[in-house]
Symmetry: C2
Subunit: 289 residues, 2 copies
């Protein structure tokens, strides 16, 4: 099965735990709405690519790690969109969860998706009990305190913020989890994979800033021009559009350099370059190439 | 160390993961506010009592399970108190987390506490990797979908609700997790412990209804008389005060009968009777005795 098929199957199996008669049907629907139809699935694809490069031996474990990371990503989007944060109306071209199901179910769907991420991991890693704790700690650490995405979001509630730390946690943490968990899911030494994830997280942040400044809202499925409107820091505002594209290219190169020695290093390097350029709007990607 | 000392130490160690320089300080403070000073700690004490009755061998694992359950309970209180649910001003005699820290930090503190619960479990069970997955699945199942406390809360967003199922999930699920996880933390056969937890959860619900109908708000640290004001179902409204007390006594007796064969069954039975009567306001407990 291709990579995307594996990811969707694993996510579908996970969300189906809610799709039983015993579950409140609107909660199940809100969870499905948050996870499907698919976004780019960048983080789980990265997790699978790293596992393949390390010599994957237990696909079930890798699929569980990849799905767990994507579920946590979806949960964070649901809570970030809430009225008390971004108060967003659309996401992936559709109403956000709280617009479609109301605020109580958006809070609960986010909570349930966080829990489901860890359930998915525990089910998937049942075949190799020794891999569960390291995977749990890697993935949970990238979401919780002191340095995960929840902590990153919480910097918005502080009087003073270190911007680099804010972005490292809010965006980079889950990318680092994807590379580290990819390696951990095959039982490989995992920590050397962290710098790769961190650089890709930074690259993604720059690409997101470029998208916000240049893209058509219909093409990205969410409002654009928000960085300028909300006076938020952005690579485009700081470096100009061409400068931001150069920065993205240099981060992609740095990511390629950060791939640790492994059986599939060459294929992984090529995957990273292709994927990073795919983050750009089509016209700009052609321009950069 | 006594039971309460063990629980507070384990919770303090868990929450201290947020109490480092790298963590947004207001998020760390909101998490502390949600967990300390202590409530009754009924669920973790139950977990420790069952583990002791089963012949506890790895106190670290049991402490982690107990702390994990209490962190999830605290997280659920923080989110339940939010304006979009109960919009509560006070909890344990102090402002609720969103009153003290604002709504964004209340959402994030709840999220971070859920993640911290699973981190705590993964750290604590490191010594016995084979016990981690069953503990994870027991505890996660009691919180998430299809039948955990989040699902219970989500029934409030449905047009029609089975009251017994609603209460079983919203209150009973975490009590069942406490008894099942207590046994699983020792490596004992765990599922036979579920009926005990379920009955105690029901007893707790009745005791809570009695408290709501009879207690002084200063004594319980939260508003009372809410069931009548909000037209919510309640054992007191259904059976009268004396009837509700009789119902509590009969549930306590049923719980005692549900204790599975184990080395410490006698002590556990006595613990259960004492604890159930302690749930009542003092005057009523004397009256019932």
């Amino acid at each position: 099965m291709d990579v995307m098929g594996r990811i969707e199957r694993a996510l579908y199996a996970a969300v189906s735990r809610a799709d039983v008669e015993a579950c409140p049907p609107r909660l199940a629907a809100a969870m499905r709405h948050a996870v499907f139809p698919r976004g780019a699935r960048i983080r789980p694809r990265l997790c699978l690519a790293v596992a393949a490069a390390c010599g994957e031996d237990e696909p079930e474990v890798t699929d569980a790690a990849a799905a767990s990371i994507e579920l946590l990503h979806c949960a964070s989007l649901v809570h970030d969109d809430l009225p008390c944060f971004d108060d967003a109306d659309t996401r992936r071209g559709r109403p956000t969860v709280h617009r479609a199901f109301g605020e109580p179910l958006a809070v609960l769907a986010g909570d349930a998706l966080i829990v489901l991420a860890f359930q998915t991991l525990a089910y998937g890693a049942a075949v190799t009990p020794k891999r569960l704790a390291p995977l749990m700690l890697t993935i949970a650490g990238s979401v919780g305190v002191p340095c995960g995405i929840v902590a990153g979001q919480a910097w918005e509630c502080e009087a003073s913020v270190d911007l680099a730390q804010y972005q490292r946690e809010k965006t980079g943490a889950l990318f680092a989890a994807a590379t580290v968990a990819g390696a951990a899911s095959v039982g490989a030494e995992a920590e050397p994979w962290r710098p790769l994830g961190a650089r890709l997280g930074e690259a993604f942040q720059v690409a997101d800033d470029i998208l916000d400044a240049t893209a058509n809202p219909d093409a990205v499925g969410k409002p654009v021009g928000r960085d300028l409107a909300l006076d938020r820091p952005s690579a485009v505002r700081e470096l100009g559009l061409d400068g931001a594209i150069l920065r993205l290219e240099s981060l992609a190169a740095a990511a390629v350099d950060a791939v640790p020695a492994c059986p599939g290093a060459t294929a992984l390097r090529s995957h990273i370059l292709t994927e990073t350029m795919r983050l750009l709007p089509k016209e700009l990607a052609r321009h950069a190439a």
